[in-house]
């Protein structure tokens, strides 16, 4: 954007005008318009999105922050695209598993209609394939952890990858299997792709060395690179199988660390991310506790009026001392002087 245009549209910036013409016309803020919404399983929703010009793309395996406005509040969540990074039509595919308590996942399944616009932020994450694609690869996923892994598989197929690829997916029941038909279709014309879908609550075996060997023609698992995404137990099991070649495991945990939300003075840790300090929770507001930890956050009134101490909470639970309300939302601004921790908290301080 030229400096002259910047001057003319200042101080708000060009996007604050363009978005009034059409919400996804922005040139700096990435967003995506829903073009299709369908349900693969009872507990998931698959979205096909058209990103706008500001979206810079992603590498298979990465995640993006998706923002959706629900009752006036922007809620952001991270999801890994499940399409190929080379997808020719430029569309983005997300599969979201719904949770009974999940505000955003339920909204995406029940409330989102084609044509609506979601906010996007740049793709991030280092769960990606090596630039030199491995000769032998085992793609392992559990539950909703399939999304970055299916993206890797589709990307390799688009690249005409000739190496051996084994794909194995674990879910509780066969009804919860995601992308089974798509993966079988990919395997049909590719002798180098082996596929296995396992239902662990319907007699399917959990992962072990024998089952991995069976997938890769009886070879030593350490001769292959593993890319695994799923719950911590699955990742631990894979690391154990590859214990002699830990550098050959690419892993991403897909279960958020559970929040401890207490009633009164909570146990837990305050993480001050910018200053790289961690402190056990003590008495007092977050402002007082940050100061006690040796930090010097901006502040003004110290009574919740002036918003000078407003700070980003990237994760964790805090209680507003005025209303008693607990916020567990990720990536929201809170007022330090009227907030007390209600469990582990991570702050951009």
């Amino acid at each position: 954007m030229s400096p002259l245009v910047d001057l003319l549209v200042g101080p708000h910036g060009i996007d604050r005008y363009l978005e009034l013409i059409r919400p996804d016309l922005t040139v700096r803020d990435a967003s995506a318009r829903a073009v299709a919404v369908h349900h693969q399983t009872k507990r998931s929703v698959t979205l096909t999105l058209r990103p706008n010009a500001a979206w810079t793309g992603f590498q298979a395996g990465q995640f993006a922050r998706i923002g959706v406005d629900i009752d006036g509040v922007r809620r952001t969540r991270t999801y890994s695209p499940s399409c190929s990074q080379h997808r020719a039509d430029g569309l983005l595919e997300l599969t979201v598993t719904t949770h009974p308590e999940g505000l955003v996942s339920r909204h995406l399944r029940h409330g989102l209609r084609p044509g609506q616009v979601l906010h996007l932020a740049e793709a991030q994450g280092d769960f990606v394939l090596p630039a030199r694609r491995p000769e032998r690869l085992v793609l392992i996923s559990g539950g909703s952890g399939v999304t970055p892994v299916i993206s890797m598989l589709r990307t390799l197929c688009d690249e005409g990858h000739q190496g051996d690829v084994a794909f194995v997916h674990y879910a509780r029941t066969a009804d919860d299997w995601l992308y089974q038909r798509e993966v079988e279709a990919l395997a049909a014309g590719r002798p180098n792709l082996t596929v296995d879908y396992v239902a662990t609550r319907e007699g399917g075996r959990h992962i072990d060395e024998r089952s991995v060997r069976a997938l890769i023609g009886g070879r030593d698992p350490a001769s292959a690179v593993a890319a695994v995404c799923g719950p911590p137990a699955l990742i631990e099991a894979v690391r154990a199988i590859w214990q002699h070649a830990p550098e050959r495991v690419l892993a991403e945990s897909f279960t958020p660390p559970s929040l401890n939300v207490g009633d009164t003075a909570a146990d837990g840790t305050l993480h001050f991310l910018r200053s790289e300090i961690a402190a056990p929770i003590a008495q007092g507001t977050l402002l007082e506790q940050a100061e006690a930890a040796g930090l010097t956050p901006d502040f003004g009134c110290r009574m919740g009026i002036c918003h000078t101490c407003t700070c980003r909470k990237t994760a964790g639970a805090v209680r507003d001392v005025r209303t008693g309300q607990v916020s567990t939302e990720e990536d929201v601004d809170i007022q330090l002087c009227v907030s007390v921790p209600a469990g582990d908290v991570a702050l951009e301080l």
Binding site: V73, H307, D333
Partner: protein
């Protein structure tokens, strides 16, 4: 400071605080789509008026286009600064988590850098409202606005300074955090304020370049019409916002406080001070929007981070609370409230309270000065 209401007991003050907290929490819990839709509608209107205003001024050689352009651009700047900028920067929409409505990131279409405003206004003024010696909004360091402020001979110029401040209000606001009066008294050095000056220069320069160079040049032969149009729009916004803001705390009957009075003040005491130290303006819905809902100054000072379009609804309950505690609820039409502010500016140009009662001979020139001043402001 003489009070015209019964002294409340500490218990009553606590109870008052509890009631107001409860009111705040009730509205806070109810915020949602409706509030976002409202502010987005105002933003859309403002951006539309801005584009229309600037477009019309490009055809400014036609007098109706120039006049229409000035009106649209004035309204745009008024909405931008007052109903949008002032309120968003208070954190009224922080709960939406929308970066475009984020109090910390918002910048407005005026010379004052957002960061400095957040400090001088959100913190200093809203925390220390009407506390002499702490609230720098009492006279902006230029005017004598309280009889408890020591009279100096230079205060004879009070009406002149006020007129200049009204005309140049965006620059008065811009240099607010510079604390000129403390530099003047030698309390702080100009060099201590380097960062503040630099930020004002950066923001102010862009505002000036935009309105008086870039847009006029873009208009080619219509450049003079665009430049004069932009100047008129800036002036209109300046005078309008000066009038509204000076009606917030200076009309007759508004109370001031000393630093001793507010020592160890409770939350209830803070609420009480906000009520006694603010005054409302009456008018229709459009008037309230164009005042940035600062016409509900009392509600704004009680709940500075509640979306301002809610103040009209809150006013009913706040008024009822005031009645129950026999507290004054200072409210009146613009001409009446502003008239009393102008009288105060003129009266306090003279030593003491400037009160004319015992000396009728001084009352005559005061009246004359007042009406001249009022004419100047109206003409501006």
């Amino acid at each position: 400071m003489p009070t015209k209401h019964p002294e409340l007991t500490p218990d009553q003050i606590e109870e008052l605080g509890r009631e107001l907290d409860e009111l705040r929490n009730r509205v806070r819990a109810d915020l949602g789509d409706r509030d976002v839709e409202y502010i987005k509608r105002v933003i859309k209107a403002q951006r539309g008026l801005e584009v229309a205003g600037r477009g019309l001024l490009f055809a400014g050689f036609l007098p109706p286009a120039w006049l229409g352009g000035v009106m649209a651009l004035s309204l745009s700047k008024i909405l931008d600064n007052m109903e949008i900028g002032h309120n968003v920067m208070h954190g009224q929409y922080d709960w939406t988590n929308d970066p475009a409505l984020d109090s910390k990131r918002f910048e407005w279409d005026t010379a004052c850098p957002g960061d400095q405003w957040r400090h001088s206004h959100n913190y200093l003024h809203h925390t220390h409202t009407n506390v002499l010696g702490k609230d720098r909004d009492i006279g902006y360091g230029i005017l004598r606005m309280s009889e408890d402020q020591q009279w100096r001979p230079r205060d004879l110029g009070n009406p002149v300074y006020a007129t200049l401040l009204a005309l140049l209000f965006q620059w008065g606001v811009a240099v607010h955090d510079l604390e000129v009066e403390r530099i003047e008294s030698g309390e702080v050095k100009l060099s201590d304020k380097r960062d503040i000056l630099q930020a004002i220069w950066r923001k102010g320069r862009r505002q000036v370049l935009k309105d008086y160079l870039a847009f006029p040049l873009l208009a080619g032969p219509a450049a003079p019409f665009v430049a004069t149009g932009n100047l008129t729009a800036n002036l209109t916004r300046n005078v309008w916002s000066f009038m509204i803001i000076f009606c917030g705390h200076f009309p007759d009957g508004v109370e001031e406080f000393s630093e001793e009075e507010v020592e160890n003040e409770s939350r209830g005491g803070w609420y009480l001070r906000q009520m006694l130290g603010s005054a409302n303006l009456t008018g229709n819905r459009l008037f309230h929007i164009l005042s940035g809902n600062l016409s509900h100054q009392i509600e704004h000072h009680l709940f500075p981070d509640i979306p301002a379009h809610r103040y009209a609804e809150l006013a009913t309950e706040v008024r009822e609370i005031c009645e129950r505690y026999e507290l004054p609820y200072n409210s009146g039409p613009l001409h009446k409230q502003f008239g009393s502010v102008v009288r105060k500016i003129v009266r306090l140009a003279l030593p003491g309270s400037g009160s004319p009662e015992p000396q009728p001979e001084t009352a005559v020139p005061v009246e004359v000065e007042h009406s001249q001043n009022a004419r100047e402001l109206v003409a501006a």
